[in-house]
């Protein structure tokens, strides 16, 4: 045991690690791809990917042209959900604009709207939604129904329809209404970037870890310097650890920078323990590095390694729940996402940062991350040693 420890911490190990550090810092392309893209990607993703549904362009066909109809229109456009984009004379004109994407929604008020309303008859207005984007349509539908419900409530109590109550409901027993009060915990402003950014960090850690470690390991083989290393008195374990340690250290710096950027640029709250996030990030990085190492043992050139990574990383990313929630996936696919380190990292980072979860609730995710890391590290070390001996 003592001998093993000495092997890991002795002067030979230190020399090897120093050599690797210098080598990485000298390789401009590698050093560049360590520093610039990940942080930039995090910022860009955070800014560019935003699922908010707001300021939908609303076109109006008002056949009634009365104070009543104008009141409805102003209620619709008062909220931040809809933004008036002009009135049209016919539904045909409106639908043309909907078709070519100028409008997202249309409101059609019939000519007998005010007359029926004054008589206390129920009226129907038509709301057309461009449902191409299913998410926008779902949320916009909720907004529109909410606006109409509020309009109905106001109708009987105030405004130009004070008389409506007596006309419409003269003798019916008044039933108590249920009023729903939604309260958004953890993110009362519904800041959309928090979800995306906290998930994307995991994607970036895996992506960069695997790309960089594969490139570093394959390079040594391509140039033929691996044999020289093997002839040195260092053991294979020492060589591998020395090789991966500087990458890990540098990528940890990247992770730290990204976490700082999340706090400074996007204002993500740190309600829980930051150490949990950083620990999970380190585990996630080790996962990525061992994916890269594993692939490097199968490939002969950097080109081949990169092409192979194309088969691993995009599927991992798309099943990660980093961009879209796992709950929105089909039921049968959701368990598959549990075998994805990025998904567990996302649970930890979102839990620990936004919700303030602690180890007591996050331990299954940590356990899963640890298990992936152990399996992948052992697998790649085993493959590598087999190749070297």
């Amino acid at each position: 045991m003592k001998k093993k420890l000495q092997e890991l911490l002795g002067p030979r190990m230190r020399a090897l690690v120093r050599k690797e550090f210098q080598q990485i810092l000298r390789d401009r392309r590698l050093a560049m791809s360590l520093i610039v893209p990940p942080t930039l990607q995090l910022l860009l993703f955070g800014f560019a990917l935003n699922p908010t549904v707001a300021n939908l362009h609303l076109g109006v066909v008002d056949d009634s042209k009365t104070p009543e109809s104008r009141e409805l229109i102003s209620q619709m456009t008062e909220s931040k959900a809809f933004e008036a984009r002009g009135t049209y004379l016919s539904v045909g004109d409106l639908s043309k604009q909907l078709a070519n994407g100028e409008l997202d929604a249309g409101l059609v008020i019939p000519y007998d709207y005010a007359r029926d309303l004054r008589r206390g008859w129920p009226v129907t207005v038509q709301i057309l939604l461009n449902a191409m984007n299913s998410n926008t349509a779902t949320i916009a539908q909720g907004y529109a129904e909410g606006v109409i419900a509020t309009y109905n409530q106001n109708l009987s109590s105030q405004g130009i329809h004070a008389q409506f109550k007596e006309i419409a409901a003269p003798s019916v027993i008044w039933h108590g209404l249920v009023v729903l009060h939604p309260a958004y915990l953890y993110n009362p402003g519904l800041e959309p970037t928090w979800f995306i950014v906290s998930g994307i960090l995991g994607v970036l850690l895996i992506l960069n870890g695997s790309l960089i470690s594969a490139a570093a390991l394959v390079k040594e083989r391509e140039i033929g310097t691996l044999e020289q290393l093997l002839m040195s008195p260092a053991s294979t374990t020492q060589i591998i650890i020395a090789k991966l340690f500087p990458l890990f250290a540098l990528l940890c710096m990247m992770g730290l920078m990204a976490v700082v950027a999340m706090q400074v640029v996007f204002g993500i709250p740190f309600r829980g323990n930051v150490l949990l996030v950083l620990g999970a990030a380190a585990l996630c990085l080790l996962c990525g590095i061992s994916i890269g190492t594993f692939i490097a043992t199968f490939t002969k050139s950097a080109r081949q390694a990169q092409l192979t990574l194309f088969f691993v990383n995009p599927p991992l990313t798309s099943l990660s729940g980093a961009f879209t929630p796992v709950e929105a996936m089909p039921k049968w696919l959701q368990p598959v996402a549990q075998f994805n380190p990025i998904q567990h990292f996302g649970q930890i980072s979102r839990g620990a940062m936004i919700k303030g979860s602690d180890m007591a609730t996050l331990w299954p995710n940590f356990l899963a991350l640890l298990a992936f890391t152990m399996v992948l590290v052992l697998l790649s070390v085993w493959r590598f040693r087999k190749q070297l001996s």
Binding site: L44, F47, A48, P51, T52, V53, A54, K96, N100, G101, P122, V123, T124, V125, Q126, L128, L129, N130, A131, M132, S134, N135, I139, G142, E145, S156, I173, W174, H175, G176, V178, V179, P182, A183, Y184, L185, Y186, N187, L190, P192, A215, A302, R303, Q306, L307, T308, P314, P315, S318, F323, E327, A328, M329, P330, R350, G351, K355, G356, S357, T361
Partner: protein, 368 residues
């Protein structure tokens, strides 16, 4: 013309011999399309919620039943003496319906009774959907209980156009198709071009009597053929497994597809000619081509949500125009009148790429 065809044939033969690249070209687009189109969706349903019913009246039971019967939610058990927040931090539930003990009394008296819905806001989009679904359940509950005899003055008849079932696959399917088209054809093109520089075979081209135009067009033609093959396979999947169709006039879609293939393969050649290292060129394609299209083309979320300071970038992103053409062809079907300028933009951006690729090659070529 003969030289262009010969060059194209040479590229295709070379690709055939590279098994890994061939698998990348033909297998990966299919896998990604199936995977992403199935997995990417924002419209959550059947979410776990907890109910804390402090009232034991019939009315509150009925309200809980309304939530229980909804497809949007399923109720998970949670003891009343534990805070709902604990369920959120443990990821056991996404929302909590809290009914206070005077609910039944107030309802019976004809007063309005408030119930609280606490929603885990960490995922803002899901939180909004939960809030909308819950509001709809409560509206239906109110309407059913008392107001049947007193109809609501104004009802909204909401019509969902172009995608009435609100299927995410119909929206994201065409987007993923465009993403794959923006990644794989240029990747192959750039590999082939950078290889010429890396292995110095480009020198042989310089001394041969093939002109820069012929050389470039041959390469572009070869990878357009590969890209068209990929497009056909992916379209077959979109049509047969996700039920999409080309609605309306198919000519804008066909012409835009050809132009887009030209555009992306010219882009690949441009990068390959500028970066004579296959690994580095691949990274450039992945970073620019793929990421730009992923983020700035409205693939996942509307372009109008991007902050104004960087939104202008999307005007130069070729994938953006193609996505709009494809979505129009498969969902709205409004034809040439609304997409003609988008098709022109694809052609314009493609010609720019071609020009730069050509200039890069020409500078190195010997004068006749």
């Amino acid at each position: 013309m003969r030289r262009i065809l010969a060059q194209a044939r040479k590229e295709l033969t070379q690709l055939q011999r590279d098994r890994l690249a061939l698998a990348l070209a033909l297998l990966l687009p299919v896998v990604l399309l199936l995977l992403q189109t199935t997995a990417i969706s924002l419209t959550v349903s059947d979410l776990p919620i907890i109910v804390q019913n402090l009232d034991s009246s019939l009315a509150s039971q009925k309200l809980v039943d309304a939530f229980r019967n909804a497809l949007s939610f399923h109720i998970v058990p949670w003891p009343t003496d534990r805070q709902p927040e604990e369920a959120f931090t443990a990821n056991k539930a996404r929302a909590a319906l809290i009914i206070s003990e005077d609910f039944g009394r107030r309802i019976a008296r004809g007063e309005s009774a408030e119930v609280q819905l606490q929603i885990d806001g960490s995922d803002s989009n899901t939180a909004q959907i939960i809030s909308g679904d819950a509001a709809e359940i409560v509206r239906a509950f109110n309407a059913e209980r008392g107001n049947a005899t007193r109809p609501l003055p104004v009802t909204a008849a909401i019509r969902l156009w172009y995608n009435p079932s609100r299927s995410s696959q119909k929206f994201y399917g065409p987007g993923i198709f465009v993403m794959a088209m923006s990644l794989f054809p240029p990747l192959l093109a750039t590999l082939a071009m950078a290889k010429e520089g890396e292995q110095k075979t480009i020198l042989q081209v310089y001394v041969a009597n093939i002109s820069a135009h012929e050389f470039l067009l041959g390469k572009i033609l070869a990878f357009m053929v590969v890209g068209a093959g990929e497009a056909l396979i992916m379209l077959a999947i979109l049509f047969f497994s996700f039920g999409l169709r080309v609605v309306g006039d198919p000519t804008p879609f066909l012409i835009a597809t050809l132009l887009y293939l030209f555009c992306v393969t010219a882009f690949g050649n441009m990068i390959g000619a500028a970066v004579p290292s296959q690994v580095a060129a691949m990274q450039v394609i992945a970073l620019t081509g793929f990421l730009l299209v992923y983020m700035f083309s409205g693939l996942l979320f509307p372009i109008s949500n991007i902050p104004v300071s960087i939104r202008w970038l999307s005007n130069f992103v070729w994938g953006r125009y193609y996505i709009e053409v494809v979505r129009d062809a498969m969902l709205a079907g409004s034809g040439w009148s609304s997409v003609w300028w988008k098709v022109l933009m694809i052609a314009g951006i493609g010609s720019t790429f071609y020009f730069f690729a050509w200039r890069n090659l020409r500078r190195m070529q010997l004068k006749d």
